[in-house]
Structure formats: structure tokens, C-alpha cells
């Protein structure tokens, strides 16, 4: 595929690796991650910021990557679900999602876990109700919410650091 003549350069650090890239102005961060970098963990659910399946961490903050034009984040650090495991060990949230059976189809799971990592580093959730409220940007159409909140609460109460 030949490059779009409108493409402009940008540099991102994606999951710890510096990447020199080019993107046309209308390419979203989500499409860049999925199509250019083949990081297909982040999902295109609604593509309108309503479902949270595309959630990634940009400079440590959880965002909807479908609503961000890639060029606007030139110079940023991006962490996707592919970058959460460290040295062969799952991130505590990944482990907790498995242990609490916090998914059924799994499509929303990468976004749920990245969002939960953002939630933990924000430090604003102090109880189950606040976890529920602050995770409301991530829809799960299988309805695994009870177990998702359980998994996040387990990690939050254990004090395991959100690696972000």
C-alpha cells in the first residue's frame, strides 16, 4: 500500500519502544495502533467514544483512542494492553480479570483493563461504588460488570501498583 501523500511525521513511544511514524491528519490513534503498528488489542467498538473498547493510556492517562487524531499526540508515550505485562508476568489487573472470570466474549477486556489501570493511577476511587462510577465509560455487552468491579477492587485493595 502506498503512503498517503498527506502523511506527516510523528514520533510516539509505544509500549516503551520509540517509533518514528507517519500519519495522515485524519488517522486516529486507534487506527494507527491497529493498522500501522498491528497492535490489535485495542478494539474498535463504536468508534465514537461511547463504548471504551479503544481505551489506551497516553502519557499515563486513560483516553478513548478512537477520538484522538494521531498527529496531535506527537511526542507522547502510549501504553496499550500489549504493553501492560512486564518480564513475562501478567499485569496484576490481567491476572485479576482471569481469577475473577471478569469477561465472557472478551472484546471489551483490553479497554476495561487499560481503563482500570488509569483508574488506579488516578487514585480517585475509594470504594466499590466509585469504581463502578469511574468505570462507566467502558461498556460490557456480556454484562460481566460484577466480576469486573470485583477484579479491580481486588487489585485496588491489594495496593499493587498500576503499571502505566
Amino acid at each position: 500500500m502506498s503512503e498517503d501523500p498527506s502523511a506527516m511525521p510523528l514520533q510516539l513511544t509505544v509500549n516503551g519502544e520509540v517509533r518514528d511514524l507517519r500519519a495522515a491528519p485524519w488517522v486516529t490513534l486507534l487506527d494507527l495502533l491497529r493498522e500501522t503498528l498491528q497492535l490489535t488489542g485495542s478494539k474498535k467498538g463504536c468508534d465514537h467514544g461511547q463504548c471504551g473498547a479503544c481505551t489506551v493510556l497516553v502519557d499515563g492517562r486513560r483516553v478513548n483512542s478512537c477520538l484522538i487524531l494521531a498527529l496531535t499526540r506527537d511526542g507522547s508515550e502510549v501504553t496499550t494492553i500489549e504493553g501492560l505485562a512486564k518480564d513475562g508476568a501478567l499485569h496484576p489487573l490481567q491476572q485479576a480479570f482471569i481469577e475473577h472470570d471478569a469477561l465472557q466474549c472478551g472484546y471489551c477486556t483490553p479497554g476495561q483493563i487499560c481503563s482500570a489501570a488509569g483508574l488506579l493511577s488516578e487514585g480517585q476511587a475509594r470504594c466499590r461504588e466509585e469504581v463502578r462510577e469511574l468505570m462507566s465509560g467502558n461498556l460490557c455487552r456480556c454484562g460481566a460488570y460484577t466480576h469486573i468491579v470485583e477484579a479491580i477492587e481486588t487489585v485496588r485493595l491489594s495496593g499493587a501498583e498500576a503499571a502505566a
Partner: protein
């Protein structure tokens, strides 16, 4: 999405010259604009990225007020200790809106300038006077559950979707803007407009002007405030009706009252005559009901949203009761007490 060119403004002056070119649109957080572009509702020829301008700061002013930078992310504003102390009503309203991901990106200025979420406006296959002036309003006589009950026109019954702006209206905020002609200050009450015959124009911001900050005056209400938002699900949904209420009590008597409504009009809705009815009265259901009836007296339903008139009346009474009790509505525990 249409094809467009992209430039990044490094200074406010660069942004002001760039936005002067026809077809240019400012891009800050982009959470609304990029979405509108995906629906082909917004089709700018050129995006001017202002997200790196030094307008992210939040400042505590000497007079007890606050200055919110136009590019301060909503989350930074809501969780700022000075905002929580000096304008807790504003912090609460922001946390009632959107999701954590969106609040991390969406900005003060962008919140003010976001477009309506009317489904017809968002659908280029239908007519819409806001999107294509003169084409008609299918919401009138159509599906209008989310639509306006106050201040609408025969051209448009869309509502402004913001929560933040409802609190800003209650707090008499001021919008600082800069344009080719210099700087000016727009009181929040004059910033958004009613649809009238020109529903395509949402605000009084002029072409070529950029919001630089929003000033929130010192808040004399202490714990006597509440932001009550009623919606179709418990979180992450636009308001059917929301109410920002604040009371200043002196010796058990209402000395000052503010009531702003969201989800009911093309702009945050204030009725200062109705607020004045409360002054001099002891706080209580009787006084609140009288004010609520006055606020809703001019309300008109369009079929699908008729229920919002009674819902809004009750929400005003409840929010004022919460404010009087110094028991603001929690934005995580959604039980309404």
C-alpha cells in the same frame, strides 16, 4: 471523515491568524469535534491544533474566585483541590458528565463549545435547521424525548448537552475571549443563545475569537449546593433534566438563590425572577415548589418530552432541598435523597 489539512499552533497569535482563514476549525481535546467529523456533520478544510497552547492552568484568584484555562482538561478541573474548595458545585457537575476517559481529554473551552447531541443533528440523512439552515426540524413531531421544554423555537428544539456549563451558569461565570479586535469578557448567561430563527449559531463567540479562560467568581454558598442529574441510565448518559442549585442562608432565611437547569433548553436555563421569589423565605418545600412552578411556567412539551416538565419541577424542588440541607447529590452513590 472528510480530508483536511492540519497545522499545530505554538502560540495564541499563531492560532488567531490561522483561525482567520475560512474553513478552519480549532481542535483542542477533540472529543466532540472528531466525532462530528466522523459523522460528516463537521467538515473543516483545515484543523488548527491549539492543544499545546499554554492555556491549561487553573489559577486561584486573589478575590476568592478561580480562573480555569481554556485547555484545562475537565478531570484536572474537577479534581483540583482549589476548585473543590472554592466551587464544589462546579466540580460535582463536571463529574456528573461524560466518562473518565473523556474528562481526561475534553477541555473547558471545548465543553462550552460542544454541539447538541440531537440525533437528527447528528444524522446527515435527515433535515436539520442547525446543520443545514432552512431544511426543517424533524425533532418537532418526531422522536423528541431528549429535547427542549424551555426557550425553543419553531426552527429548533435541541438542547445544550453540557453539565459543566449548567454549574457555570449558576455561578455567574465569565468567559474570557481573545480575537482580532483584542480581548473581551462574555458573561456566561450571554455566551450561549436560544435558537430563534438561527439555530445554526450556538454561541455569541465571534468568528476568529478564541476562548482563553473562564473565571468563576468567589462562591458564597458554602455547603449549600447540589448538582442533581436525572438520565436514562445511572452514569455516562446525557441529562434528561439536571439542576444546579445553590443557596446562601442567613439566620435560617434564604438571602440568595441560584437555580440553573440543564437538558431542558438550547442553553443552561436561569430564571432570575423565580430565584428572587426565594429570597426572604425560610428554606422548605413550599418555597421551593413555588420557585419550581415559576421556572417551569413557560415550559412547552413536544409529545415525547412532555414528562420532562413535571420531572424538572420535581428535580428543582429536590435539588434546592439538598442544597438547603447542605447535602449535595453524590455523583457516585446515585440514590436521590
Amino acid at each position: 471523515m472528510n480530508r483536511f489539512s492540519y497545522i499545530r499552533a505554538e502560540t495564541l497569535d499563531e492560532a488567531l491568524s490561522a483561525i482567520a482563514l475560512p474553513g478552519s476549525a480549532l481542535l483542542a481535546g477533540g472529543t466532540n469535534l472528531v466525532d462530528l467529523m466522523k459523522y460528516d456533520v463537521a467538515k473543516p478544510a483545515r484543523l488548527v491544533d491549539i492543544s499545546r497552547l499554554p492555556l491549561r492552568g487553573i489559577e486561584a484568584l486573589d478575590d476568592g474566585g478561580l480562573r480555569l484555562g481554556a485547555l484545562a482538561p475537565n478531570a484536572d478541573t474537577a479534581y483540583d483541590a482549589r476548585v473543590q474548595e472554592r466551587a464544589p458545585l462546579l466540580a460535582s457537575a463536571i463529574l456528573a458528565g461524560a466518562s473518565a476517559q473523556l474528562r481526561n481529554v475534553a477541555t473547558t473551552g471545548g465543553n462550552l463549545l460542544q454541539r447538541t447531541r440531537c440525533a437528527y443533528f447528528y444524522d446527515p440523512c435527515t433535515p436539520c435547521n442547525k446543520r443545514e439552515p432552512g431544511s426543517g426540524c424533524p425533532a418537532i413531531g418526531g422522536v423528541n424525548r431528549m429535547h427542549a421544554i424551555l426557550g425553543a423555537s419553531e426552527a429548533c428544539i435541541a438542547v445544550h448537552p453540557s453539565d459543566m456549563c449548567v454549574a457555570l451558569a449558576a455561578l455567574d461565570a465569565r468567559v474570557n475571549v481573545q480575537g482580532p479586535g483584542g480581548v473581551r469578557v462574555i458573561p456566561i448567561a450571554d455566551f450561549h443563545r436560544l435558537p430563534g430563527e438561527q439555530p445554526q449559531i450556538d454561541s455569541t463567540l465571534l468568528a476568529g475569537e478564541i476562548i482563553t479562560s473562564v473565571d468563576v467568581p468567589a462562591d458564597p454558598f458554602g455547603p449549600h449546593h447540589s448538582y442533581l442529574k436525572l438520565r436514562d441510565r445511572l452514569s455516562y448518559a446525557f441529562a434528561l433534566v439536571s439542576v444546579a442549585a445553590a443557596l446562601r442562608l442567613e439566620d435560617g432565611i434564604i438571602a440568595q438563590a441560584r437555580v440553573a437547569l440543564g437538558g431542558v433548553a438550547h442553553k443552561p436555563w436561569r430564571d432570575q425572577e423565580a430565584e428572587a421569589l426565594l429570597v426572604g423565605l425560610p428554606p422548605g418545600r413550599e418555597a421551593f415548589d413555588q420557585a419550581a412552578r415559576a421556572i417551569l411556567a413557560p415550559a412547552v412539551g413536544h409529545g415525547g418530552n412532555d414528562f420532562k416538565i413535571e420531572l424538572a419541577r420535581r428535580a428543582v424542588v429536590r435539588a434546592l432541598s439538598q442544597a438547603a440541607a447542605g447535602a449535595p447529590q453524590s455523583q457516585s452513590d446515585k440514590r436521590v435523597r
